[in-house]
């Protein structure tokens, strides 16, 4: 029973990681950018959300409704002002630019919010759970998983069924050929980053509900997002989701074996996938 419980808890944890990973998979898939500031953006949005809740007395889902459009705008601005200048065949300039942005964001957050840890009050939602059989399932992790599934499905449908999705896939396949059909790569890139950071708006609310956040926490979120994307297969939306599930289950099983082994177990699975199947478990060779 304890292993089945670990599996369930792992899948629920994977829901959180999926929300980190979706945006990274989208940005990598379309622009071949590994956004090193991804985790810091989650933390920045979390801290903005916490401040909004504290100053205006907003509940978590009202904060989410305010934060997601803000995140979309931030993503658009980030791409237009910084990333469009460094995107290209060579991945190094964008890697350096986002690394620099990561450092700048951490220092900015430290200046505004200090190094203290904070969390978003959820009005009890964060501690509520339901018992099924002999297993306790937290309500918040279930909500997180439902949002993760909905976001993944929505993103997949958008990519497959909409005009904008086709433009994104065309630009991801061959950006110069896409421009030959009338697609403006800079606009498509800005929209992709707006969506990627917009998804982090959801993740930020859930992250600050389930635990505390502090300005220096971005690195861990980045690692989990990166590992989920690599395990699943870079550039694939459902691959990133399933990669997040594998990472979550690996960590939950690791925690059951030894409480100190949880995070390490995730890293080991990541390294095993990287060594044996670098295209990811669900990616094409």
């Amino acid at each position: 029973m304890q292993w089945f419980d670990a599996l369930i808890q792992g899948v629920l944890l994977g829901g959180m990681y999926a929300q980190y990973a979706l945006g990274m998979a989208l940005m990598f898939g379309v622009m071949k950018i590994v956004n090193v500031s991804h985790g810091d953006l989650v933390i920045l949005l979390s801290l903005v959300g916490i401040s909004l809740a504290a100053s205006l007395g907003l509940g978590p889902f009202t904060v989410m409704a305010a934060l997601v459009p803000l995140a979309v705008g931030l993503g658009w601005l980030l791409q237009r002002t910084i990333l469009n200048r460094v995107v290209g065949d060579d991945p190094l300039p964008s890697l350096i630019a986002t690394f620099g942005l990561s450092l700048a964001l951490q220092n900015l957050m430290m200046q505004i919010w200090s190094a203290n840890s904070r969390s978003l009050p959820g009005g009890g939602i964060e501690s509520r759970s339901i018992q099924i059989g002999g297993i306790y399932i937290g309500l918040l992790p279930v909500i997180v998983l439902v949002f993760a599934i909905a976001l993944t499905w929505g993103l997949d449908m958008m990519l497959k069924r909409t005009r904008f999705g086709r433009a994104l896939r065309a630009a991801a396949s061959d950006v110069e050929a896409a421009s030959m059909t009338g697609i403006n790569p800079r606009t498509v890139y800005a929209s992709a980053t707006a969506i990627a950071v917009g998804i982090l708006g959801f993740a930020a609310v859930f992250q600050s509900l389930r635990s505390t956040v502090a300005p220096a926490d971005g690195g861990a979120q980045l690692i989990y997002a990166f590992e989920a994307v690599i395990i699943g297969g870079m550039g694939s939306v459902w691959g990133a989701f399933l990669g997040a599930m594998v990472l979550g289950v690996a960590q939950a099983v690791g925690f059951r074996i030894d409480p100190g082994l949880g995070v390490l177990a995730g890293h080991i699975v990541f390294l095993l996938v990287l060594a044996t199947r670098p295209q990811g478990l669900f990616g094409r060779a």
């Binding site: 005009r163 086709r166 433009a167 896939r169 065309a170 396949s173 061959d174 110069e176 050929a177 896409a178 421009s179 030959m180 059909t181 009338g182 697609i183 403006n184 790569p185």
Partner: protein, 243 residues
């Protein structure tokens, strides 16, 4: 020539320090087909890329309807009515035939380009594209991929269609099938610039031709009146025969 829809004036293009084009003067009228012939490395594809806005050139070097448009990015060139069938087809791998074509339809709608080309009309021109609508483009034969590439450019509703070596690597039967579609394209009033290495094919499919050698135009004239000997000298810069 008066009433050129597209023209270049002393067009110069470079790849870094390497100069690929040396002052190309070119023009094409509405509904005209003009062939650009020359050996490998003559600068034909570079010329098309420079016109399409894929290489940096000065505004005055390319004019459309008399307006300077040189250096305009490719996506805005589409908006102005120029489309390209690029060398190597450059299809969107991983996407179906239908989705490759829909990308062009989407953008033409977005950019407000009106014209006579629709998916239904394209399916009449190349019926195989309807049969293979759901097939990923990478699974198609070379000829079928070329049809998708031509179709994608036509669905941009161009006034000027730039075709870069559309016969390259295809079987003679497929080449005939593709070239048989050109009169219908021209019947829409679309001007066609054909880059070709096959001189006979280029002559038969065009009204006029330009021959290029090492980044310069070495011969221009009506396709049906330039002689093999003239082409030979212009093509090779010597006295070789054209096969």
């Amino acid at each position: 020539m008066t009433g050129a829809i597209l023209s270049t004036h002393g067009l110069v293009a470079r790849y870094g320090d390497f100069q690929a084009l040396y002052g190309i003067d070119f023009q094409i009228a509405e509904g005209e087909a003009v062939a650009l012939i020359g050996a490998n490395g003559a600068g034909k594809s570079t010329f098309l890329r420079a016109v399409m806005g894929l290489l940096p050139v000065a505004p005055d070097m390319v004019r459309m309807g008399g307006q300077p448009i040189g250096g305009t990015p490719a996506d805005r060139m589409v908006q102005k009515g120029v489309a390209i069938v690029p060398e190597g087809r450059r299809l969107f791998s991983g996407m179906s035939v239908q989705d490759n074509l829909r990308v062009a339809v989407d953008q033409a709608d977005r950019l407000g380009r009106k014209g006579g080309w629709s998916l239904a009309r394209l399916h009449q021109l190349f019926p195989i594209l309807k049969e293979k609508a759901r097939t990923p483009v990478q699974s198609l034969s070379g000829g079928q991929q070329q049809m998708v590439s031509i179709g994608r450019a036509l669905l941009c509703q161009p006034r000027v269609l730039l075709c870069d070596e559309i016969s390259l690597g295809l079987a003679p039967r497929v080449i005939r099938e593709i070239y048989a579609a050109l009169p219908e394209v021209r019947a829409q009033g679309t001007s066609v610039v054909l880059v070709e290495q096959d001189v006979g094919l280029a002559q038969s499919a065009s009204d006029r031709l330009y021959c290029m050698l090492e980044g310069r135009v070495t011969l221009t004239g009506p396709s049906d009146s330039v002689t093999r000997d003239e082409i030979s000298k212009a093509y090779f810069g010597g006295t070789h025969a054209v096969v």
